[in-house]
């Protein structure tokens, strides 16, 4: 009798995937609770549903990317092709910029002068980085940074966490000041992404070696 190894191996890979999903579902639920808690504590922006449709859609796209797509790639639950991965990265960057700046993004790209505010440590920077650190702790404790063999997987997870923190801030702060949104929302998220990426890479290296 000839044995067919392929279905057995495929079944084993599917079982691994199911086990990963089961393992990380609680972490996702906890992340949702943290996000919900922060928004309840800080309060939703009063004009949330009155924002331009495009900007609101961009914010929803950021939620979808940071809660589902990016973690799925980082955790080895989804293996998109290289072009699709590139598309995801571009979509995340564009969606984050549009979600934070809206129509001002085009004005900024067109050379419109910004308000006088430069980089400064205000509530939105603290809120973004603070929320990000709580989510980062969740990621570290759940082992999300070290699921896949490649260190690059940690960057997908940290990207997702940073976008979560960015969307929390955007859904709290109603500012339409381009300078504030650029530095205190997008800039803070970028800073968080750098810190989370470094932390994620260190955790990945240590766990994979261990």
């Amino acid at each position: 009798m000839s044995l067919d190894a392929v279905p057995l191996i495929v079944a084993d890979l599917q079982a691994t995937r199911r086990a990963r999903t089961r393992h990380f579902l609680p972490a996702l639920i906890l992340a949702l609770l943290v996000i919900g808690g922060l928004l309840v504590l800080a309060g939703l922006r009063p004009d949330l549903w009155q924002q331009p449709v495009g900007q609101l859609l961009a914010q929803l796209a950021v939620w979808a990317l940071c809660l589902v797509a990016l973690p799925a790639v980082g955790l080895g639950l989804w293996f998109p092709s290289r072009p699709l991965r590139l598309l995801l990265v571009v979509a995340a960057v564009v969606a984050a910029a549009l979600a934070a700046l809206g129509r001002d993004l085009w004005a900024m790209l067109g050379g419109l002068a910004m308000s006088g505010q430069g980089p400064q440590l205000d509530f939105c920077v603290s809120a973004t980085v603070g929320a990000g650190f709580v989510l980062l702790a969740l990621g570290v404790l759940s082992g999300a940074f070290a699921v896949r063999r490649r260190a690059g997987s940690a960057l997908w997870v940290s990207g997702g966490l940073s976008l979560m923190a960015l969307d929390v801030t955007i859904w709290h702060c109603p500012s339409d000041d381009l300078g504030h949104n650029l530095y205190s929302h997008l800039g803070a998220a970028l800073l968080l992404m750098v810190l989370a990426s470094v932390a994620g890479l260190i955790v990945h290296r240590r766990r994979r070696r261990g």
């Binding site: 044995l3 392929v6 057995l8 191996i9 495929v10 084993d12 995937r17 063999r149």
Partner: protein, 212 residues
């Protein structure tokens, strides 16, 4: 249009991360080469096919130990699979020699390993295989220890001692049907603990010609 395909190392990398599609592509790329090698070694297409399947399973179970060493990652992947396939073929041929000696048929004791002496693996390649076998053996013994004594006894007599169901029935003084029921329950329990893939490789290793 010629679309660039990912190399073996890239496919292996994604397969090790759990990507089913990458495994399919890797399997499609490697199987013809491995099948050819095995057919050349064992000189029987049906056996070569069985050994190919065993190679894929064994590689799957040992996949976490795979590491790319050296400047040619694609060649490292192929060498890894080739080593596993070659070792399984050698085990098979050695089993055949033992079987022939056991039957003591004159004129049939030609050592097939001598025919492939130039294909013997290096010391390093044997090390990989010993590690793999040791890991599988350890997990199987742990799973065996969890079985009820009556079931474990049947598995040990069947797979380790190589007795037939009728011989076990005679040895244990129970009906052959009861032996079969115990064996069925034991293998089902082992498959639950080890997974179907590991169980099949384990049975191969545990056999009288195996390493356990």
């Amino acid at each position: 249009m010629n679309v660039a395909q990912p190399g073996l190392a890239a496919l292996m990398d994604r397969y090790l991360d759990g990507d089913q599609r990458a495994f399919g592509q890797l399997h499609a790329a490697l199987s013809p080469r491995l099948r050819g090698l095995l057919a050349k070694l064992v000189r029987d297409n049906a056996t070569a096919e069985d050994l190919l399947q065993a190679t894929l399973l064994k590689a799957h179970l040992a996949r976490n130990g795979f590491e790319v060493r050296g400047p040619h990652p694609d060649a490292a992947v192929q060498a890894w699979y080739t080593t596993i396939a070659r070792n399984l073929a050698l085990d098979h041929l050695r089993g055949q020699v033992r079987e022939r000696k056991r039957r003591a048929e004159p004129g049939e004791d030609r050592d097939p390993i001598q025919e492939i002496a130039t294909d013997l693996p290096s010391i390093e390649e044997w090390q990989v295989d010993r590690d793999t076998a040791a890991e599988i053996t350890r997990r199987v013994h742990e799973a065996l220890a969890q079985l009820p004594t009556a079931q474990r006894e049947v598995v040990e007599l069947h797979k380790l001692a190589g007795l037939s169901m009728a011989e076990i029935s005679e040895r244990l003084q129970i009906r052959e049907g009861a032996v079969r029921v115990r064996a069925h329950r034991a293998y089902k329990a082992l498959a639950r603990v080890l997974g179907p893939g590991l169980l099949l490789v384990a049975l191969n290793l545990l056999g009288p010609g195996g390493r356990a």
